[in-house]
Amino acid sequence: MNYIDIFLVDRFEKQIIDSLGIHAVAKIKDRLFERHGMSLSQAIMDFEIFESVLYEYFGSGNKGVIKDCINSVCIPSQSENTIEIKDEELEKTIFESMMDDDKKSIISKTMKSPMTLKEMVMEIQENSTEQKAFEKVNSLITNRILMESPKDDHMKETYYYNVINGMTINYEDGIKITMSLKENLQHSMILQQIIR
């Protein structure tokens, strides 16, 4: 399981639905479940399965569909190990999170080392109520900006971290977000499709 994929999978799935339409995606979902017992997002994380089912419907045109959908989510730069966010909703989520001092503080801290839910809530609780702090952390988890860190046997609590190493938000012709990632883009099953 790759963390870049966890970060991107929801948006990629949404782009697939937007691009192919609900009915076509319903057929693909049925086929995935019949053959592999998988949901669409599970199949995307195991990209070969998703690609093979897409091939049944689109033949070799499946590559073009995949490429277009990935490029609608983000544009990777392998040399710099960065992605430029293209998906408007993802862009909005990241932008709003970075403009919120509490969320930004959590994102910055978890760039360096993973934190538990309790640590994160305590970190920002000084500025707001516990309930508000929890809601903010939860929103980062729901939006997959924070994700569960791999667990060791001796770990009692769940640690959360993010895949972001750094980020630039530019305003030139509108907002443009470029994220530098901790993990190599080549490790992402989704991004491999357009950078290999």
């Binding site: 932008f95 403009m99 801290k109 190493n165 750094g166 305003y171 030139e172």
Partner: protein, 166 residues
């Protein structure tokens, strides 16, 4: 660090111009005498970037990002310099635009063009920066602002820079 050639030979770096409150005059109406980790750099696109970790400048850029009216004014001035009235007429909002433009001029995001012959007798305004970027890392945040070439020209005229930027 960039070096500038000056007519008067009194100042030899853009940074010293910054300290002398001449390069971006309006920005210094905020009375920032010492800006933290602030310098100029020329990038590979030939843009002159103002790079800063100073909280005042970072907060200024953030306030711009969070303000829809400022965004709207910025987009209009990106096309061409406009007078206050032209901006107000295009948006259809009068008082709020005038107030917001004053705010942007005071903060340094927008500058008056120091034109020799006034445009229809009115002062025109332009964006101080053509790119406003915020960079986040776990160590902190900073800004990268690309100076509008029009402004550099303006400053060169008003500040006495002969025009060579190395």
């Amino acid at each position: 660090m960039l070096t500038v050639i000056l007519k008067d030979q009194e100042l030899d770096t853009i940074d010293s111009r910054l300290e002398n409150k001449k390069l971006i005059p309006v920005m210094f109406e905020m009375e920032q005498t010492s800006l933290k980790n602030t310098h100029f750099k020329k990038n590979n696109k030939g843009q002159i970037l103002l790079i800063s970790e100073d909280k005042v400048i970072v907060d200024l850029v953030k306030s711009f990002y969070n303000d829809k009216v400022m965004n709207e004014i910025y987009k209009m001035l990106k096309e061409k310099p406009l007078t206050r009235k032209e901006v107000a007429d295009e948006t259809g909002k009068c008082t709020s635009i005038y107030r917001k433009m004053d705010e942007m001029v005071t903060s340094g995001l927008v500058m008056e063009l120091n034109e020799k012959s006034n445009y229809r007798g009115k002062t025109r305004f332009t964006n101080t920066f053509t790119k406003l970027g915020i960079t986040f890392t776990y160590e902190g945040e900073g800004v990268e602002l690309a100076l509008n070439p029009k402004i550099i020209k303006e400053c060169a005229i008003t500040g006495g820079i002969t025009n060579e930027l190395h």
